[in-house]
Amino acid sequence: MKSFRLLVSNLNNYKMCNSIALCSFDCYNIVKCCTRGDKIDYMKVKKYIVIFLVISMSLMGCTQIGMKEYTKNIFALNTYITLTAYGGRNTPKILDKAVQRIQEIENHMSTEIDTSDVALINKNAGESPVEVHDDTFYVIERALWYCNMSDGAFDITIYPIVKLWDITGDNPRVPDEEEIQRALSLVDYTEVILDREDKTVFLNRSDMGIDLGAIAKGYAADEVVRILEKSGIRHGLLNLGGNISVIGDKPDGTPWNIGVRDPREEETQLQYLAIASISNSSIVSSGDYERYIKDVYEKTGIRYHHIFDPRTGYPADSGLIGTTVIAKDSIDADALSTCLFIMGQERGLKFLQNVQGSKGICIDNTKRIYTSSGMDNILEITGEEYRLEK
């Protein structure tokens, strides 16, 4: 089956050449037969020619002809999202459906929309359980699984700390120790109480809060993939603020090549240090470079970035400057890249091996790159200053 698929994709690539080669081959034979006057059953020859023509025509028909690239750009989930799909004329409608789904997810899970499930859970902390939509419940359940598995390195109840530092907001600042300790006492994922029957979520103490920022984008990407695939899209590339999911291969049958951003090239997001070749999966990165307090960095050289360590209340300081995780589902890649970043190289990469089907790389502050198993064949290091450690 695999070799057949390979054959088809090869034929696709050379569809035009094929049909021409077949045609000229036929003509050559016919002419040769005519001129030499060999005894040939022309009915048979004709039959072959017809078969050749039908095959080459159908090869031409079943490929890119009639398949176009469609792109949709939106701002949602606090970031810029680009959805690219290859398909027929109904593709824009399919993409619109995907956009609606993203907006629905944002309306359920944003901390900034007052009526969202998450905002209501936070508002009713310590008071009453809140009934939530199925998708919110699913994401929280999955997030809590990661909280548990990572032994609290990943913690969705980090919200009081996030709010205190406000790194991604309008007034980021470095809080004093006392404030941090007070907020930190509210961070404990074991105090998120789920009721599977009633689909309710309850935070045990008032002033507690949850933030699904490290996982909701991943879930949204999976939902878009599901919608596009269900509508028959077989090639696509989604970019949700740097979280990338790919559907199938590229239209030419080769894997998608995704650059891993160089964490120390501030100028442009297009500078990459490695290229990963992937199909049908998601690749997500976390790092200290995307959002941090620039003024403080310029004065002191300390990078207060947006990924917090739930054990300290400060931005994670594990010696890593960037992590990238590949997994089948984006929800896993999203959560795992954060886990890896907080846990650090040794513990994080070991943790990654426990989650089936996931693999990743981390980059430390001396520009060394460490990889988990399964990366060798799909990763190419291109950054000259970076060294791959074995």
Binding site: I20, N73, F75, L237, N243, I244, W256, I258, V260, E267
Partner: protein
């Protein structure tokens, strides 16, 4: 035993000729050499598209959003940059100039995207960050 008719032969040759013409035509039409276009999107909708040419004069465009916000974009032969903006973080200005196909400037608060389209010889399809 039947003989191949001359008409059949003619049709086959004709098919071969058409196929070759189509193939050559497709190859030559596929790319326009070195052309770069600046595309400006506001909340996902295209509002401007300008071709970058080697001898164009610098152009300044003011892109206004519905809620009274704006970005002033400078477009010149050596690239595109945002020179003034009403957004809170000014990240679009700090990013500086872009000039290669595939690059983009995004202003999240104003929902503005500027990207350069063109012959993309980049070995990657996208970048994760």
């Amino acid at each position: 035993m039947k003989k191949l008719k001359i008409g059949d032969l003619f049709i086959y040759i004709l098919l071969a000729v058409f196929a070759s013409i189509g193939f050559i035509g497709m190859k030559s039409m596929a790319t326009v050499e070195g052309e770069r276009n600046v595309v400006i999107l506001l909340d996902g909708e295209e509002v401007e598209r300008i071709r970058l040419t080697p001898n164009m004069e610098e152009k300044e465009l003011c892109i206004d959003t519905d809620n009274g916000m704006y970005n002033i974009v400078s477009i010149a032969k050596d690239g595109v940059r945002v020179i003034e903006a009403s957004c809170s973080d000014k990240l679009c200005i700090k990013q500086g100039r872009i000039d290669n196909p595939g690059q983009s400037i995004v202003c999240l608060p104003n929902k503005l995207v500027i990207k350069i389209l063109g012959d993309d010889d980049s070995p990657v399809d996208d970048v994760t960050y």
